[in-house]
Amino acid sequence: MTHKSVSIIILVASRALARVIQLFGIYVIIHGHYSPGGGFQGGALLAAGVILMRMAYGREASQSEVSTGAAIPLASIGALLFAGTGLITLAFGGHYMDYGAVPVPGIEEPIVRYYGILLVEFGIGLAVMTVLVAIFDDMLSVPPEERVEGGAPDESSDPVPVERRNPMTR
Protein backbone atom coordinates (compact mmCIF):
# COMPACT_ATOMS: atom_id res chain seq x y z
CA MET A 1 0.00 0.00 0.00
CA THR A 2 2.17 2.82 -1.22
CA HIS A 3 0.91 6.16 -2.35
CA LYS A 4 1.89 6.99 -5.90
CA SER A 5 3.67 10.18 -4.84
CA VAL A 6 6.25 8.27 -2.76
CA SER A 7 9.78 8.37 -4.16
CA ILE A 8 12.08 5.37 -4.41
CA ILE A 9 14.79 7.20 -2.43
CA ILE A 10 12.57 7.46 0.63
CA LEU A 11 11.46 3.83 0.36
CA VAL A 12 14.95 2.36 0.05
CA ALA A 13 16.53 4.62 2.67
CA SER A 14 13.81 4.03 5.24
CA ARG A 15 13.99 0.28 4.64
CA ALA A 16 17.74 0.34 5.27
CA LEU A 17 17.59 2.75 8.21
CA ALA A 18 14.73 1.13 10.14
CA ARG A 19 16.71 -2.04 10.84
CA VAL A 20 19.81 -0.09 11.91
CA ILE A 21 17.69 2.02 14.26
CA GLN A 22 16.07 -1.07 15.77
CA LEU A 23 19.43 -2.82 16.21
CA PHE A 24 20.72 0.28 18.00
CA GLY A 25 17.59 0.28 20.17
CA ILE A 26 18.25 -3.29 21.30
CA TYR A 27 21.84 -2.32 22.07
CA VAL A 28 20.67 0.66 24.13
CA ILE A 29 18.27 -1.51 26.15
CA ILE A 30 20.77 -4.30 26.85
CA HIS A 31 23.72 -1.99 27.47
CA GLY A 32 21.69 0.32 29.71
CA HIS A 33 23.51 -0.67 32.88
CA TYR A 34 26.92 0.52 31.71
CA SER A 35 26.26 3.44 29.41
CA PRO A 36 23.65 6.16 28.93
CA GLY A 37 20.38 4.63 27.85
CA GLY A 38 17.97 2.08 29.20
CA GLY A 39 14.48 0.82 28.65
CA PHE A 40 12.78 4.10 27.74
CA GLN A 41 15.38 5.29 25.25
CA GLY A 42 15.76 1.87 23.65
CA GLY A 43 11.99 1.44 23.42
CA ALA A 44 11.68 4.83 21.74
CA LEU A 45 14.31 3.78 19.17
CA LEU A 46 12.55 0.47 18.51
CA ALA A 47 9.30 2.35 18.01
CA ALA A 48 11.10 4.81 15.69
CA GLY A 49 12.03 1.93 13.40
CA VAL A 50 8.44 0.75 13.16
CA ILE A 51 7.05 4.28 12.74
CA LEU A 52 9.61 5.08 10.02
CA MET A 53 8.42 2.07 8.01
CA ARG A 54 4.78 3.09 8.49
CA MET A 55 5.50 6.70 7.47
CA ALA A 56 7.21 5.55 4.26
CA TYR A 57 5.03 2.60 3.27
CA GLY A 58 1.64 3.45 4.73
CA ARG A 59 -0.15 2.16 7.78
CA GLU A 60 -0.15 -1.48 6.67
CA ALA A 61 3.67 -1.75 6.84
CA SER A 62 5.56 -3.43 9.69
CA GLN A 63 2.40 -5.09 10.95
CA SER A 64 4.40 -8.27 11.67
CA GLU A 65 6.56 -6.39 14.18
CA VAL A 66 3.88 -4.54 16.14
CA SER A 67 0.43 -4.99 14.69
CA THR A 68 -2.10 -2.22 15.28
CA GLY A 69 -4.41 -4.42 17.35
CA ALA A 70 -1.68 -5.98 19.47
CA ALA A 71 -0.03 -2.71 20.52
CA ILE A 72 -2.09 -2.00 23.64
CA PRO A 73 -2.09 -5.64 24.97
CA LEU A 74 1.70 -5.79 24.47
CA ALA A 75 2.05 -2.50 26.34
CA SER A 76 0.07 -3.98 29.23
CA ILE A 77 2.36 -7.04 29.25
CA GLY A 78 5.38 -4.75 29.35
CA ALA A 79 3.99 -2.74 32.26
CA LEU A 80 3.13 -6.02 34.05
CA LEU A 81 6.69 -7.26 33.52
CA PHE A 82 8.04 -4.00 34.93
CA ALA A 83 5.79 -3.82 37.99
CA GLY A 84 5.68 -7.59 38.55
CA THR A 85 9.45 -7.91 38.73
CA GLY A 86 9.42 -5.25 41.41
CA LEU A 87 6.55 -6.88 43.30
CA ILE A 88 8.11 -10.38 43.34
CA THR A 89 10.85 -9.06 45.59
CA LEU A 90 8.20 -8.05 48.16
CA ALA A 91 7.11 -11.71 48.38
CA PHE A 92 10.63 -12.71 49.48
CA GLY A 93 10.82 -10.05 52.17
CA GLY A 94 12.85 -7.41 50.33
CA HIS A 95 11.96 -3.85 49.43
CA TYR A 96 10.24 -2.97 46.17
CA MET A 97 12.71 -3.73 43.36
CA ASP A 98 15.31 -5.04 45.81
CA TYR A 99 16.29 -7.89 43.48
CA GLY A 100 18.99 -9.26 45.75
CA ALA A 101 16.28 -10.54 48.11
CA VAL A 102 15.11 -13.14 45.61
CA PRO A 103 16.87 -16.46 46.36
CA VAL A 104 17.78 -18.09 43.04
CA PRO A 105 19.66 -21.40 43.59
CA GLY A 106 23.11 -21.47 42.09
CA ILE A 107 23.34 -17.75 41.25
CA GLU A 108 25.04 -15.17 43.47
CA GLU A 109 23.28 -12.01 44.62
CA PRO A 110 24.96 -9.47 42.25
CA ILE A 111 24.06 -11.63 39.25
CA VAL A 112 20.45 -11.84 40.43
CA ARG A 113 20.38 -8.03 40.66
CA TYR A 114 21.84 -7.85 37.14
CA TYR A 115 19.09 -10.04 35.67
CA GLY A 116 16.39 -8.25 37.70
CA ILE A 117 17.42 -4.89 36.25
CA LEU A 118 17.58 -6.41 32.75
CA LEU A 119 14.05 -7.82 33.10
CA VAL A 120 12.72 -4.43 34.23
CA GLU A 121 14.47 -2.74 31.30
CA PHE A 122 12.88 -5.20 28.89
CA GLY A 123 9.45 -4.47 30.39
CA ILE A 124 9.90 -0.72 30.06
CA GLY A 125 11.23 -1.09 26.52
CA LEU A 126 8.28 -3.23 25.43
CA ALA A 127 5.75 -0.86 26.99
CA VAL A 128 7.31 2.32 25.55
CA MET A 129 7.72 0.84 22.06
CA THR A 130 4.16 -0.42 21.77
CA VAL A 131 2.58 2.67 23.31
CA LEU A 132 4.44 4.97 20.89
CA VAL A 133 3.36 2.80 17.95
CA ALA A 134 -0.22 2.82 19.25
CA ILE A 135 -0.20 6.65 19.47
CA PHE A 136 1.11 6.85 15.89
CA ASP A 137 -1.52 4.38 14.65
CA ASP A 138 -4.27 6.33 16.40
CA MET A 139 -3.21 9.54 14.67
CA LEU A 140 -3.02 7.79 11.28
CA SER A 141 -6.25 5.84 11.46
CA VAL A 142 -9.48 6.94 9.86
CA PRO A 143 -12.69 6.75 11.94
CA PRO A 144 -14.62 3.45 11.47
CA GLU A 145 -17.56 5.04 9.63
CA GLU A 146 -15.25 6.51 6.93
CA ARG A 147 -13.20 3.33 6.50
CA VAL A 148 -12.92 1.97 2.93
CA GLU A 149 -12.32 -1.67 2.06
CA GLY A 150 -8.67 -2.21 1.26
CA GLY A 151 -7.68 0.97 3.05
CA ALA A 152 -5.85 2.62 0.15
CA PRO A 153 -6.72 6.30 -0.22
CA ASP A 154 -8.11 6.95 -3.71
CA GLU A 155 -7.65 10.13 -5.70
CA SER A 156 -10.99 11.66 -4.70
CA SER A 157 -10.25 11.49 -0.96
CA ASP A 158 -6.94 13.30 -1.37
CA PRO A 159 -7.16 16.75 0.23
CA VAL A 160 -4.86 18.25 -2.41
CA PRO A 161 -6.50 18.92 -5.79
CA VAL A 162 -4.78 17.17 -8.68
CA GLU A 163 -4.15 20.34 -10.65
CA ARG A 164 -2.11 21.74 -7.76
CA ARG A 165 0.29 18.77 -7.74
CA ASN A 166 2.90 20.04 -10.17
CA PRO A 167 3.34 23.81 -10.12
CA MET A 168 5.46 23.90 -13.30
CA THR A 169 2.65 22.65 -15.55
CA ARG A 170 0.17 25.30 -14.53
Binding site: S5, S7, I10, V20, V160, R164, N166, P167
Partner: protein
Amino acid sequence: MSVLQNGVAGVLIVLGLIIMLVGSIGILRLPDFYTRSHAASKVDTTGIIFLLLGLAVLQGWNLAMVKLMIAVAIIMLANPVAIHALSRAAWMHGERPWMRKKEGED
Protein backbone atom coordinates in the same frame (compact mmCIF):
# COMPACT_ATOMS: atom_id res chain seq x y z
CA MET B 1 47.97 13.76 22.49
CA SER B 2 50.17 15.23 19.85
CA VAL B 3 50.16 18.74 18.48
CA LEU B 4 49.23 17.39 15.05
CA GLN B 5 46.13 15.65 16.44
CA ASN B 6 45.01 18.84 18.18
CA GLY B 7 45.65 20.93 15.09
CA VAL B 8 43.75 18.68 12.69
CA ALA B 9 40.84 18.37 15.14
CA GLY B 10 40.74 22.14 15.59
CA VAL B 11 40.72 22.78 11.85
CA LEU B 12 37.91 20.25 11.30
CA ILE B 13 35.76 21.63 14.15
CA VAL B 14 36.23 25.24 13.04
CA LEU B 15 35.36 24.23 9.46
CA GLY B 16 32.16 22.59 10.72
CA LEU B 17 31.28 25.68 12.74
CA ILE B 18 31.84 27.95 9.70
CA ILE B 19 29.53 25.74 7.60
CA MET B 20 26.92 25.87 10.38
CA LEU B 21 27.18 29.68 10.54
CA VAL B 22 26.79 30.02 6.76
CA GLY B 23 23.82 27.65 6.81
CA SER B 24 22.16 29.55 9.65
CA ILE B 25 22.54 32.84 7.78
CA GLY B 26 21.09 31.09 4.74
CA ILE B 27 18.01 29.95 6.66
CA LEU B 28 17.34 33.56 7.67
CA ARG B 29 18.18 35.28 4.37
CA LEU B 30 17.04 33.01 1.51
CA PRO B 31 13.70 33.77 -0.13
CA ASP B 32 11.58 30.60 -0.17
CA PHE B 33 11.06 27.12 1.25
CA TYR B 34 13.34 25.18 -1.12
CA THR B 35 16.40 27.39 -0.78
CA ARG B 36 15.93 27.58 2.98
CA SER B 37 15.68 23.80 3.30
CA HIS B 38 18.81 23.57 1.17
CA ALA B 39 20.63 25.78 3.67
CA ALA B 40 19.21 23.85 6.62
CA SER B 41 20.41 20.57 5.14
CA LYS B 42 23.94 22.00 4.93
CA VAL B 43 23.85 22.72 8.68
CA ASP B 44 22.44 19.30 9.44
CA THR B 45 24.70 17.26 7.23
CA THR B 46 28.03 18.84 6.36
CA GLY B 47 28.48 20.96 9.47
CA ILE B 48 27.75 18.16 11.92
CA ILE B 49 29.84 15.66 9.93
CA PHE B 50 32.90 17.94 10.09
CA LEU B 51 32.30 18.54 13.81
CA LEU B 52 32.05 14.81 14.54
CA LEU B 53 35.15 14.07 12.42
CA GLY B 54 37.05 16.64 14.47
CA LEU B 55 35.87 15.03 17.70
CA ALA B 56 36.85 11.60 16.35
CA VAL B 57 40.38 12.84 15.61
CA LEU B 58 40.49 14.28 19.13
CA GLN B 59 39.50 10.89 20.59
CA GLY B 60 42.21 8.81 18.96
CA TRP B 61 41.76 5.11 18.32
CA ASN B 62 39.14 3.78 20.75
CA LEU B 63 35.51 2.70 20.95
CA ALA B 64 34.19 6.27 21.22
CA MET B 65 35.80 7.07 17.87
CA VAL B 66 34.10 4.07 16.26
CA LYS B 67 30.75 5.24 17.65
CA LEU B 68 31.36 8.74 16.26
CA MET B 69 32.10 7.26 12.83
CA ILE B 70 28.87 5.23 12.99
CA ALA B 71 27.02 8.45 13.82
CA VAL B 72 28.68 10.14 10.81
CA ALA B 73 27.59 7.27 8.53
CA ILE B 74 24.00 7.39 9.76
CA ILE B 75 23.82 11.18 9.43
CA MET B 76 25.22 10.94 5.88
CA LEU B 77 22.45 8.50 4.98
CA ALA B 78 19.51 9.91 6.92
CA ASN B 79 19.71 13.70 6.63
CA PRO B 80 19.70 14.09 2.82
CA VAL B 81 16.81 11.64 2.64
CA ALA B 82 14.86 13.60 5.26
CA ILE B 83 15.38 16.90 3.40
CA HIS B 84 14.45 15.16 0.13
CA ALA B 85 11.22 13.88 1.66
CA LEU B 86 10.37 17.33 3.04
CA SER B 87 11.05 19.16 -0.24
CA ARG B 88 9.27 16.49 -2.28
CA ALA B 89 6.19 16.71 -0.08
CA ALA B 90 6.18 20.50 -0.49
CA TRP B 91 6.53 20.13 -4.29
CA MET B 92 3.72 17.56 -4.46
CA HIS B 93 1.42 19.82 -2.50
CA GLY B 94 1.97 22.78 -4.81
CA GLU B 95 4.60 24.92 -3.11
CA ARG B 96 6.01 27.09 -5.90
CA PRO B 97 9.74 27.81 -6.08
CA TRP B 98 10.84 31.44 -5.86
CA MET B 99 11.69 33.13 -9.16
CA ARG B 100 12.81 36.58 -10.22
CA LYS B 101 10.04 38.87 -11.34
CA LYS B 102 9.97 39.24 -15.14
CA GLU B 103 10.06 42.60 -16.92
CA GLY B 104 6.69 44.34 -16.95
CA GLU B 105 5.20 41.90 -14.47
CA ASP B 106 4.21 43.21 -11.10
